[in-house]
């Protein structure tokens, strides 16, 4: 997890990893090189098998929630879709249009969409910011369980220290574009 003040470069870091910003250096995941600027190699975002949740949920208003989640896939994995809908408490919303959703619901749909394609990396920018506190904790635990089950590395930007307690194996603080220090948290018992 990454935290830091506004303007520290947290979102920019996620965007660089996603390939949405030009970056120098080297990025690789699981032995696959995503970026090697010295070799002139840079995979496009669509080649990186990402799951992303940004502050703007970016749901397409003419599609139902279900169609938004499965966007770009040839066939629908209905069992997996139902599991994600249940996980993020959006089952009753699946046939609704985004204009009928609250900000919190739209954010949960974006989370389901990010996971639907079983990405190789999950990039989350304040993924629970629009959720009520009671829902937040439930979502954290469910996301943690899903992360452990699918073995998906997650890089999350958050200001919420509870996110770090529940979800983070490593917690870095960022200032002026640099990852400064690893924040150590006392271990908390996770109630499932």
């Amino acid at each position: 997890m990454i935290s830091g003040e506004n303007g520290a470069g947290k979102t920019t870091l996620l965007r660089c990893l996603a390939g949405l910003e030009q970056a120098d250096g080297r990025i690789s995941l699981g032995g696959k090189i995503w970026l090697d600027s010295s070799a002139g190699l840079a995979l496009r975002p669509e080649q990186r098998q990402l799951g992303c949740v940004w502050v703007d949920a970016a749901l397409l208003p003419w599609l139902s929630v279900e169609k938004n989640i499965v966007l770009g896939t040839a066939s629908t994995d209905t069992a997996w879709l139902a599991e994600l809908a249940d996980m993020f408490d959006i089952t009753p919303l699946m046939q609704r249009k985004p204009c009928m959703l609250s900000a919190g619901e739209a954010q949960r749909v974006a989370l389901a969409r990010a996971l639907y394609k079983r990405p190789s990396l999950l990039l989350l920018d304040e993924p629970f910011s629009a959720q009520a506190p009671a829902i937040r904790q439930r979502l954290r635990l469910r996301l943690k369980a899903m992360q452990e089950r699918l073995h998906i590395p997650v890089l999350m930007v958050s200001h919420d220290v509870d996110d770090a307690h529940v979800l983070a194996r490593q917690h870095w603080h960022m200032r002026q574009g640099r990852l400064l220090l690893e924040v150590v948290h006392a271990k908390k018992e996770i109630q499932r």
Partner: protein, 223 residues
């Protein structure tokens, strides 16, 4: 009268279909691509908005005359003149109505939120999928507006089609030219009828544009 109306409808329909095919990629390039001469191309596309139709018509007539390069090639291929023909009028209408198709589409492309395009890329959609599943549906209001404006504008053309097509009954005498001829021949009743039909057609087309745009706005703000 019906013959000229039918000809106008045919001209407007053919022009609209061809314009959409030309204007959609042209508007895309003008909106999203950066290249030398982009401003000049935008100016050329917008020129028919400010040029007197007779000036545009004159240049097109010179361009497609049998002794010109384009006119000569056409004559060799089809053994008939491009000037004063239906095909010549289609070409003239394409150029004359080009800004009415390109500009709404440019606005529609520009209005697509960057976050939607980035979401499509990070969700793994390739260029074709992004175009078909995100960009075109998002721009459909602009496409419909472009189609309706092109159709209505072509229906109402006078100066350009008169210069390029003349007024050959059944071949190039479209409704607006037929109306002019009726007024000159003092056929008041026929002129009234034709003018009323053209007015109603334009009213219906513009009503469709406004209704579509209103609906798009309502969906956008969640009404």
């Amino acid at each position: 009268m019906l013959e000229s109306l039918w000809l106008s409808l045919q001209l407007a329909l053919v022009t609209t279909v061809l314009l959409l095919l030309v204007a959609l990629p042209l508007a895309y390039v003008l909106t999203f691509r950066s290249f030398t001469g982009r401003t000049a191309l935008e100016v050329v596309v917008a020129l028919p908005l400010v040029l007197p139709p007779t000036v545009l018509g004159y240049f097109i007539l010179v361009m497609i005359a049998p002794d010109s390069l384009l006119g000569g090639i056409w004559q060799a291929l089809f053994d008939r003149s491009l000037a004063f023909s239906f095909s010549g009028m289609v070409l003239a209408s394409l150029l004359y109505s080009l800004p009415f198709a390109v500009q709404p589409m440019q606005q529609a492309w520009r209005a697509i939120p960057q976050s939607w395009l980035e979401m499509a890329r990070t969700q793994g959609l390739n260029m074709k999928q992004t175009l078909l599943q995100v960009m075109l549906p998002a721009a459909r209001g602009g496409v419909l507006t472009a189609a309706a404006l092109s159709f209505a504008h072509t229906m109402g053309e006078f100066g350009v089609v008169l210069m390029v097509g003349g007024s050959i009954p059944g071949e190039t005498r479209v409704a607006s030219i037929a109306l002019f001829d009726m007024v000159e021949l003092q056929q008041s009743n026929e002129a009234w009828m034709l003018a009323l039909i053209l007015l109603l057609l334009s009213f219906v087309m513009l009503s469709c544009v406004y209704a579509v745009n209103r609906r798009q706005f309502d969906v956008g703000i969640g009404r």
